[in-house]
């Protein structure tokens, strides 16, 4: 069990993480801004801000005993303070190191155990010392100025009541008028989830302004409760319907009574006339009947009264709930800027790696969108930007040659469209997408056949880049080229209920247009029943509903298929794909089956189902923390009755279905595995790396042969059949480049895929890798086994 102290510390730590993240974002965007801004005074104010952020982060880190973070912050602070005094060269290298330091801190915060700070500390120190040495050697004047600078600074900071070397206190802002709060008192504040992190001034400022901080957890719980109110609305509507049907029943009773009315009246007359001749019983019976009628009539009146009231209630409640939900969703909206803040750094890092000059322009970042959508958008944004930097923009020389400005421009424009939609345009002024090249790759990968490809318009051709495996890049790099990024973008956008288009002109540039709903509200879904269980299929994925008779089902390449619009489409029973156990055979054996043509991206598949229940608005909910991702299931929704219904993930479903139907029936799984075991040749001189590679590959199910250098590998490749080669570059006798070249020049091995795994990561080396004909290039620094296995799977 956690002791109270531990629990407190844990809470403190989680608060710290939130705070640190904000500081880091501010620091890195500040640094990037600084690099752009040339005007001195403006720059100075940015330096000041970043300095302050670093200082706050340092203070907070001390509170949670993250000494390493503290140390790095301290060094950054010193450098920033030199920058404040203009006592350091502000070159690109400096920004590189500072940004690297931000990365290191980020790692430290998330996993302090595994992060080593010695490297970055060395760099930071050398920056610091480099300047001071330079100074002392070069100009005495400078030096004296520098020593002057310190007291001068002290003066400044005295004004701010700051003691730099000890840094005992949080850095108060200049405008701070409050007495300083000692650190000891401040710490508990950091654990208060609604308070601003450890910055008394900030708290004060925020109180004055009209925004406050609220923990997202609290907001989520509020939204949940607001959504629950939907159930109240549905229930009250249901009550109204029940009352109406009751009233209808009474109506029937009335009609019936009316038809007997004449008879009863005459019977009554008769009994009155006959009076006492008849038995007393008949008279009382008639009286009872009449009394009964009166009673029922009054019940009827009261029911009608109730219906009116409940109708009003339902309308009122419905309106209130709708308004509440609407406002609640607005509360959950965040401006795009919260996401866009991280992008300048991403673009900067990517473009530096590529040796390209890129300017990122962002417009419309104040437009608001549902936080949950924003969170999902991070990956798609990064994938598209990678694509822009890696494939879209040309190298500086190439740009100069074609008369373009040397610095490439990527612009992100966000605009509010009519109603509940936003449009995001991501544009680069690069070389554009050549439809011919896409066409060739798509044909080569077997995605379209040549005649089809020829018939496609250029527009349609470009859209093919959103398909898996289609990449026009000649080589797989760490950044892109695997043909995975853009399909992910498409899947995400579609999942969020948005759409994606592409415009591109060769030589002029490419524009991705993403349209998204502003709120992640309800979407429409079709409820279907399969083997007795109910599922929701998002209407977006349903192309059409059809009936399939047994006679329509053909066998094409060992798969069941139906012909729709002259095209054969694979067919499977939804229950079989989901593995929902069949309930006892109550379903009548008919010749006709209900079926749905589902699509996800370009993939289409026909699923037979038992029956379609209805189409309605559904609200997507996650499956809870334990079920982080379940195959074929995207989430669940709660119906008005309280019943929980899983929502299907059509992209998964089509993949699963394809897998089920392609498994040959006779070959057992183990035999199949044996038959399909691919062999890989590893060339690596280091024993540790060699063993590691062997282990990784063998546990992934490949047959592995190892060799110790290029010559050894070449001999093996000529003697035996391999499906792929994984090779190091730096090896004795023959290096990786020469190995690839020799393999390519030999007819027998010319088509053999080769992956270079290497410590060399310069652009020149990567390009040399392309030149000699390697299929992929993986840098050891960023090496992880899933990365390698992914690439292998792409190649064989």
């Amino acid at each position: 069990m956690l002791s109270q102290e531990e629990a407190f510390f844990k809470e403190l730590l989680s608060m710290y993480k939130i705070e640190a993240e904000e500081h880091l974002k501010a620091i890195s965007s500040g640094l990037i801004e600084m690099e752009k801004v040339k005007a001195k005074d403006k720059r100075k104010s940015i330096v000041e801000t970043v300095y302050r952020e670093a200082h706050s982060l340092k203070g907070a880190s001390r509170a949670v005993n993250l000494e390493d973070v503290e140390t790095v912050c301290q060094s950054m602070e010193s450098i920033l303070s030199l920058m404040k005094q203009d006592a350091i060269d502000t070159n690109a290298e400096l920004f590189d190191i500072l940004l690297k330091a931000v990365d290191v801190i980020d790692q430290l915060i998330n996993d302090s155990e595994k992060t080593d700070i010695s490297e970055i500390m060395n760099k930071l120190h050398s920056l610091e010392e480099g300047t001071s040495q330079e100074k002392s050697a070069e100009k005495k004047k400078e030096k004296s100025k520098k020593s002057e600078a310190t007291p001068e600074k002290k003066e400044k900071s005295a004004e701010k009541e700051e003691e730099k070397p000890e840094a005992k206190h949080e850095p108060p802002l200049k405008e701070e008028s409050e007495p300083e709060v000692p650190e000891e008192q401040e710490q508990p504040k950091a654990s208060d989830s609604t308070a601003a992190p450890s910055q008394p001034v900030e708290v004060q400022k925020r109180l004055v302004s009209d925004t406050i901080r609220i923990a997202t957890e609290k907001l989520d719980s509020l939204l949940l409760q607001a959504e629950e109110m939907l159930a109240a609305k549905l229930t009250s509507e249901q009550h109204n319907k029940d009352l109406q049907s009751l009233s209808l029943e009474l109506e029937q009773w009335k009609k019936r009574w009316d038809s007997y009315d004449a008879e009863i009246t005459s019977a009554r007359h008769q009994s009155e006339i006959k009076g006492h001749n008849q038995s007393q019983g008949n008279g009382t019976l008639i009286d009872f009947l009449l009394w009964n009628q009166e009673q029922l009539k009054s019940v009827d009146t009261r029911i009608n009264e109730l219906i009116r009231i409940s109708e009003n209630n339902a309308r009122l409640l419905g309106g209130m709930v709708n308004n509440l939900l609407e406002d609640m969703k607005k509360v959950l909206m965040l401006p795009f800027s919260t996401l866009l803040k991280i992008l300048p750094k991403v673009v900067r890092d990517l473009s530096r790696d590529q040796g390209k000059d890129v300017e990122l322009i962002v417009r419309g970042s104040t437009i608001e969108i549902d936080r949950r959508i924003l969170e999902e958008l991070k990956d798609p944004f990064i994938h598209v930007l990678r694509n822009c930097v890696d494939h879209g923009l040309e190298k500086p020389e190439e740009r100069r040659r074609s008369g373009k400005p040397v610095t490439g421009t990527i612009s992100i424009t966000i605009s509010q469209q009519s109603g509940n939609k936003v449009e995001i345009l991501i544009n680069d002024d690069g070389r554009g997408i050549d439809p011919e090249r896409v066409r060739k790759v798509a044909v080569k990968k077997g995605i379209v056949i040549e005649s089809e490809a020829a018939a496609l318009s250029d527009e349609e051709c470009r859209m093919l880049i959103f398909q898996s495996d289609v990449s026009t890049s000649p080589i797989i790099t760490d950044i892109s080229g695997r043909g995975l990024g853009l399909p992910i973008v498409r899947e995400k956008v579609e999942k969020l209920g948005g759409s994606l288009t592409l415009e591109s002109e060769v030589g002029v540039g490419t524009t991705f247009q993403i349209t998204l709903p502003v709120t992640l509200a309800t979407f429409r879904g079709i409820m279907v029943e399969v083997n007795g269980q109910v599922f929701v299929i998002p209407t977006v994925n349903v192309e059409r509903v059809i009936r399939v008779s047994e006679g329509d089902v053909k066998t094409v390449e060992n798969r069941e298929a139906v012909i729709i619009d002259d095209k054969p489409l694979a067919l499977a029973h939804l229950g079989d794909v989901l593995r929902v156990p069949k309930k006892n055979q109550t379903i009548q054996q008919t010749n006709l089956h209900q079926a749905m043509l589902l699509s996800s991206g370009e993939k289409r598949f026909v699923f037979t189902i038992d029956r379609i229940l209805s189409e309605q608005e559904v609200l997507v909910k996650g499956l809870g923390k334990q079920l982080s991702r379940v195959r074929n299931i995207a989430g669940a929704t709660i119906l008005g009755t309280g019943q929980v219904v899983p929502i299907l993930n059509v992209a998964d479903l089509i993949k699963s279905a394809a897998r089920i139907t392609t498994i040959p029936t006779r070959v057992s799984k183990t035999e199949e595995a044996k038959l399909e075991k691919k062999s890989i040749l590893v060339a690596e001189d280091s024993i540790t790396s060699r063993t590691l590679l062997k282990n990784i590959l063998e546990s992934a199910g490949y047959e592995v042969k190892t060799t110790v250098d290029g010559v050894d590998a070449l001999t093996a490749a000529r003697a035996e059949q391999f499906d792929l080669i994984v090779s190091d570059i730096e090896m004795p006798r023959m290096n990786g480049f020469d190995l690839v070249a020799s393999i390519r020049s030999d007819k027998r091995t010319a088509d053999l895929p080769v992956i270079l795994v290497t410590a060399l990561e310069s652009r020149e080396d990567r390009e040399r890798g392309i030149d000699v004909g390697a299929n992929a290039y993986i840098v050891k620094r960023s090496f992880d086994q899933s990365n390698l296995l992914d690439v292998i799977r792409k190649l064989i």
Binding site: Q626, S628, R629, R631, V644, S656
Partner: protein, 178 residues
Amino acid sequence: MTEARIKDINRILKERAKELSEASVDQEIVEESVEVVEFVLAYEKYAVESAYIDEVYPMKDFTTVPGTPPFVLGIINLRGKILSVIDIRKFFDLPVKGLSNLNRVLVIKTPEMELGILSDFILGVHVIPKKSIHPPMPTLTGIRAKYLHGVTDEGLVLLDVLKILSDPEIIVHDDIEA
């Protein structure tokens, strides 16, 4: 609490006070017991430290989720939120008794994880002395031993909720590959 129970506790406390009057440590009386929620599952008595129990929820209905491992019973509607419910009988190879209206879900929670444990019914909240908890029998191996905290003198099986909740194997993350 029944009177007999209170008397019981009083008696135990008195006895302990006596024992401890010689030793100078007197805080241990509080430290040495643990409050548990006792429940019945498939004719066996189990207990979970009450500190980890967020609430006990009556399970009226649940929805099975295809593609999840057998220990996942399904998902339920916990006041508008979806909660997954696990069936620990699957861990312990216990006979599966059908669901009844008496089924209760123990909602257990840490900041990182939240799930429901299926139970037949709840016996109540009890305080058991730590001394009476013994390590699980050595014959138990694998997952059974992993999730057990211990067994009491009365044969009550104390589950180790933290282990269950922090076990990465409990998380279903089935990323489908192309």
